[in-house]
Structure formats: structure tokens, C-alpha cells
């Protein structure tokens, strides 16, 4: 599943540095107690059989929604919906180290997807960073509780990586804006209550100016959507049409015409960057199990020298991803992390691409099958990973970011 803007840098510095011990991979008793708390909560609250590997979601869409809503409710009640958020909005004010431990434990059990993920990861931080007190009080608690679902109006049919050229128009009509235009690849628009979107309010100046971030009610006549069928046969994306839709003035985030700053800066809620590497580690363990159990010509896959060497290669790359992630998180905790945080999205998604292709091929001739008959579910994972490489700043854009912001190479004509 792709989420617009998911991997935009969410890095903030932890300034609370204390006397630094030497390099270590130990956790304090207090940190281990926090880990146990999460584990115990998962054991008590995950659906039956989930930890043992029975992780199928209901096929029926309504049932699936019900299932996910129920899971979000449990998370919220347990205080796990967004531990890095302030307590006043339903979070736990978790430290960076607690966030890391939470990520580790989450990767270990691979819980159901969080229905509020877009709101928690992207909308919440923007509202917290740029919103008024009224906006924060109005919207933030309901993001966490899952009572209100959000989508993000970012891409347009002609606007992908080059966000600043967006066209969807918002016209100032006194106490409200009138919105006309189109958004696309909008994840969850078909069920969202609110849209956090970027619109063009002034096209007379440079294209980075005159963009306004708006909060728009999806439940109105001027908003219609059409679901888009993806290569995985899912329909999470939408085209959204704004046809004389309106939103009151108090729903502007930041100043009018100053939305570019909002789009570029994902600040606040001091939080660690996320990393696919922790999930990849679990995927790798699952793949090793698969290779031990599957046989070809009577011999377990795991005894095939080629398979063994490939597995060792993945083992190393995943450890390199994880260790670099740990190095960056540590730098962040020491208040010393810069653009090098952009390592993970690109590096991890390339491992994932290779890993899933390899998994497909290990399926043998049966890899031609889909759904429950697809060996190891690899075909769908392999397809879905393509979207990880496109969404939230494509791999090409990631390489530009590394080239320019980390290494200081000259910007291209396109910027």
C-alpha cells in the first residue's frame, strides 16, 4: 500500500543529550520493561492466531473495514496509536528510544495495518506544526481514535514529483475558499472524512509561492471520487474531483499562499524516522523458514548452494540497512542527524525489490498462481513493493536528495 508522502523526512533533533556512553547495543532495565509492556499488550490484544502467523484480513471490504476500525480502537485505548504524540492529544510523549523499541516490537509481530496511519504520520504532524490551537484541538484527538479518517490531496494528473507545479485551484470568496480541480493517487479518499490538500491560490508569481494547504470536508456535494484499480487488484487509490467544493477560511493551514513550507517541512512530534529494515529482518526469517520447509526434487531449498548464497547476501544487506538505521537513530538521539537520514528509503526498498523477486522465483512453476495459491504470498508483495519505490518521493528523487543535500552536488535544471 502506498501512502502519499509517507517517507518525507520526519527528522527532528533530540537536543536533550546526556553524558554519552561508548558504543553499545544494550538497553536499560527501564527500556526493557517498556519492551515487555508492548509485548504483553500485543499478546493480549492481537487477534487470535496472529502472532503464530495467521494474519489474513477479511476478504469482504466491509468486514475488513470493521476489523481495521476495531484494531484502531484497541490501539487507541491501549495508548499505542501514536506514542510519539503529546499526551494531551492521546499520545504518550514517548522518547526517541521508546519509539525505536516500539518499532522493533511492531516489526516482530507485524500487526494489522493502522487505519489512521496517514493521519498519524502525515496529517497530524502538519497540523501540530502549522495549525492553530483550535485546529489542533478539533482534529488531532480524532485522528488517533480513528473516529475521523484522512486522505492527502497531493498529486494531480500532471503533477507528480514536481509538486510546485500543482494546478488544483482554490479561490478566495470572503469567508471561504472555492475549490476546483483534480487530485489523483489519493489513498483512502473513498472512505476519508477529511482531505489535507494543497491548492493553487495565486499563479502570478514563482510556482513555489501561491500554494495553500487546506483542510477540506470530503462529505459535500462538490467532492466526488473514482476508485483506481492497482496492479495488485486492490482499489486503495482514487481520483478525486473538486467541483465547486468549499471550505471555510479557518481551515487554512499556515498562511494563505504559504503552503509550500508546509509541504516541505514535516516537523514536530519529535519522532524517529521509520525504516523498512526491521520488517525486512522478519521477512528474511520467514523466508528462511519457507526454504527449510519447501523441497525441490526431494531436497529442501535451503540446501541448494545458490539459494544459500542468495540468502546470505540478503542477510548482509538487511543487516547493513538495520545497522545504518541504528546509526542514524543514534545520531538523532545525540542531536546530530542531517540529510543522511535519506539513506533508508532508497536502500531498503531496493533490498525489498530484490528480496520479493527472489521469493517469487523460489515458488517454482506455482509462482504463476495468485491469491491464496500464490506461494508464500510473494507475487503480491513483489508488486506492492514497486509502489514503495514510487510513492513518497520516487527512488529517482531520493537519489537527487542524496546527491544534492547529502553530497552537495549541483541541482539539476528541474529544480
Amino acid at each position: 500500500m502506498v501512502i502519499e508522502g509517507k517517507h518525507l523526512s520526519k527528522i527532528t533533533a533530540d537536543v536533550s543529550t546526556v553524558a554519552k556512553p561508548r558504543m553499545n547495543f544494550d538497553y536499560t532495565d527501564e527500556q526493557e520493561a517498556f519492551r515487555r509492556e508492548i509485548r504483553e499488550w500485543y499478546e493480549e490484544n492481537l487477534p487470535d492466531g496472529w502472532i503464530e502467523g495467521d494474519r489474513d484480513l477479511p476478504d469482504d471490504e466491509d468486514e475488513r473495514e470493521q476489523f481495521l476500525r476495531e484494531w484502531q480502537r484497541k490501539l487507541h485505548e491501549g495508548g499505542w496509536a501514536a506514542i510519539h504524540w503529546p499526551e494531551e492529544y492521546g499520545g504518550r510523549d514517548a522518547s526517541l528510544m521508546q519509539q525505536l523499541i516500539y518499532q522493533q516490537e511492531k516489526a516482530r509481530v507485524n500487526p494489522p495495518p493502522e487505519r489512521s496511519e496517514i493521519g498519524v504520520d502525515l496529517v497530524g504532524p502538519a497540523i501540530e506544526g502549522f495549525g492553530t490551537e483550535e485546529q489542533k484541538e478539533r482534529y488531532l484527538p480524532k485522528i488517533l481514535s480513528g473516529e475521523e479518517l484522512w486522505c492527502i490531496g497531493y498529486s494531480e494528473p500532471d503533477v507528480g514529483s514536481d509538486l510546485a507545479s500543482l494546478q488544483c485551484k482554490a479561490t478566495d470568496e470572503g469567508d471561504h475558499f472555492r475549490i476546483n480541480g483534480q487530485k489523483i493517487w489519493t489513498t483512502h479518499a473513498h472512505k476519508a472524512d477529511w482531505c489535507y490538500m494543497f491548492t493553487r491560490t495565486d499563479d502570478s508569481g514563482p510556482k513555489h509561492h501561491g500554494i495553500t494547504a487546506l483542510i477540506v470536508d470530503m462529505d459535500q456535494e462538490g467532492v466526488t471520487n473514482e476508485r483506481i484499480r492497482q496492479i495488485t487488484d486492490e482499489r486503495e487509490f482514487n481520483q478525486v474531483y473538486f467541483d465547486d467544493a468549499t471550505t471555510p477560511k479557518e481551515n487554512v493551514l499556515n498562511e494563505v499562499d504559504e503552503g509550500w513550507e508546509v509541504a516541505m517541512r514535516q516537523l514536530s512530534f519529535e519522532r524517529i524516522s521509520l525504516s523498512q529494515s526491521l520488517d525486512l529482518e522478519r521477512r528474511f526469517d520467514e523466508l528462511v523458514e519457507f526454504c527449510k520447509n519447501e523441497t525441490r526434487g526431494g531436497t529442501p531449498l535451503v540446501e541448494d548452494p545458490h539459494v544459500r548464497e542468495k540468502l546470505a547476501e540478503f542477510d548482509t544487506r538487511i543487516q547493513a540497512a538495520k545497522l545504518t538505521y541504528f546509526r542514524n537513530v543514534s545520531k538523532q538521539m545525540n542531536g546530530d542527524l542531517g540529510a543522511e537520514a535519506s539513506f533508508g528509503k532508497l536502500y531498503d526498498s531496493e533490498i525489498a525489490a530484490d528480496l520479493h523477486r527472489f521469493r517469487v522465483n523460489l515458488g517454482g512453476p506455482k509462482a504463476a498462481l495468485w491469491g491464496d495459491d500464490s506461494p508464500n504470498g510473494a507475487a503480491k508483495d513483489s508488486l506492492a513493493n514497486i509502489s514503495i519505490r514510487i510513492g513518497g518521493g520516487t527512488s529517482d528523487i531520493q537519489r537527487n536528495i542524496i546527491g544534492e543535500r547529502v553530497l552537495g552536488l549541483p541541482k539539476g535544471d528541474q529544480e
Binding site: 554519552k20 558504543m23 527449510k292 546470505a312 546509526r327
Partner: protein
Amino acid sequence: MDFTLSDEQTQMQESVRDYLESEGGIELARRQMDGEDVVGEVWDGLAEMDYPALSVPLEYGGLGDDLLYLSLLFEEAGRVALPGPLPETLGFTVPLLAELGTDDQKEEFLPAIADGDLRASVALYDDATESLPEAIRMEAEPTDDGYRLDGTKTLVPYAESVDRVVVPARTRQDTGYGGITLFFVDPAVAETERLDTLDKTRPLYELTFDAVEISGARLGPVDGGGDALKRAIDRLNVSMCAMLVGGADEAVDRSVEYGKQREQFDKPIGQFQAVKHRIADMWLDAEAARSLTYYAAWAIANDEDDARQAVSRATWYCTERCGELFEDDIFNHGATGYTWDHDGHIFLKQAKTWANLLGSPTEHRRRIADIRL
């Protein structure tokens, strides 16, 4: 959990970098490559800075630092492809002496190494077509007061620039790391012949022992040196990885600088995405290599359960991926990069040499698989 360097470590690294730059940086490697022997000069300078004392235990006049600390020194050495048996002496020999040496041996050799008065190397191979440890074949026969070494060791680094060489030999018929006894030998007792090497900054030699009788040179237990040797080879691998990480960092910097300066079609070539993206990918591999190497060094220093896996991960990744990275750096420099006068090939040849010297990438991946699967 804290996977960053301490201020002290960072400062040490910076001071090594400044020092090596002030001594001429990569020019030292170039002089070595062009036929001069700069090892003595390099070593005297390092000794003045106390660097050879870094891993020597405190009670023998050293600074008592671990392999992680040492790796930071190697990283800076690698940045300028520093000639000299630094990994062999500090990464390989010192911990081996500290572990296996008698009090007399430690007293004799460790302070001398710390003071910069003794350099050491290692003579592993009897057969350059075999992998380790099978390539260790020389038999050592007991004599009245010692052993008789008979045979030719090959691929011995810096044999003519060192005072001692660690020579493993079989004292019992066995395979793998079994039946191996280690000797700490003055290479002057052997006949040395320099080999023509791919990497001309790090000369390799053949060492012929013509039924040479040695006494008092045994290091560690009879027949039982294999385990310590295995671990010493792991440390040597990590030392080389650290040098490659330094080289990789330098190669990325060089590509970046060239990408900013060199103009074609009226633009700096680093503006073109084909070039920019290649350099970004080089950076990814350099960062990954560094993470794996630091972890391997830390895991060995702290005797972690996954130390051997960590070493093999770092080794295949650094030799194979940094090797490709060095090729990319040459490529980024175009025809200029392909010239002898350009420094790119110095790093590439080092990586290619090391990629097979202490276990090929495939062998290391197999080792990971054997432990993990």
C-alpha cells in the same frame, strides 16, 4: 543502544586524518607504487604519533584500545591507501601476541611494537590456488630445541619490510584449523622473492624456508594455534574492511568534487542525473559498508555471539561492493580516471586484491549461510 562514535574517537580520527594529509596523503602510496620503499618513513612518523601503540595492552606500554578504535585509524589510513603493514601488525599480530604469547614473548615484542620498533606480517599460504585454511600446508618438524620449517609460503605482505612474520604450520596431520602451530619468525631466516602484484602499494612475497631450524619462536600451544589464528584472520579482515571504508568515503568525495568541477555541455556533470544518481548509489554502499564494519569491529571487541557472521558480512560487502564503487569512481572521471596518474586505480586494486586474499566474497557468503541456516 548508541551506535555512534564518542567524541574522543572522533577527535582521534580527525587528528589521524590531519596528520596523514600533512605527510603527503596519497602521495605516499604513489611513491611506493612507483618503486620507492616508504614503509620505514611512514612507520617512523606513525610511531612519533604513538599510533602503533594503539592496540598494545596498557601493561606493555600501549594504549590498550580495542578493534573498533583501531578501525578508525585504519579508516583514515585507507583514505590515503597508506602503505605499510598496519593491519598486519596492529590488527593481526598484536592481539595474537597478547592472547598466545608467553610473558617473555610479550615483554620482548609488544613494547617494541608500541614504540614503532617492530613491524610484523603474516605468511598464510603454501598454495595460492587454495582457500584458507586448506592452503596452510607447511609441516613443522620438532627438533631438539625447536622446529624445522621446510617449504615456501607465498602471498606474504611486506615480507622485506617487517621484523617478524607469523607462520602457521601443521604439526599434526589434520584439516581445517586443526593441528596448526604458530611460529613468530624473523623473515631473514628465509629466502624472500618479491612477486609482481596487482596492487603495487602493498607488495607480496614468496618466503622459502629451506629446512630452517628455529628455536623459541613457537607462539601458543603445539597443534592448538588454529582457533586463535582463525580469530586473528577475522580481525585482519575487519582491519582491511576499515581501510576500504576509508577509501570508499574518499572515492565518493572525489567523484563529488569532480562532478562539481568538470563541465560538459556547459554544465557541471554532477548536475546530470546519470552521474548524480551513480554517486548517490556509491554513497549508499559506502555508508552500508561502514555500518557493517563498525559493527563487526565492535562485535569482535565485545566477544558477541554473532561476531563471525558480522565479519563475513563486512568482508564480502566491503571487498565486492567497494570494489564496484571504486570502478564507478574511475568511470565518473572518464578517460582521466583510466590513467595511471589518477588515483582511482590505487583503491580499486587494493579492493580487488583483498576480495580474495582472506576468503572470497562467495566463501564469506557461504560462511554466513552455514552459521545462519
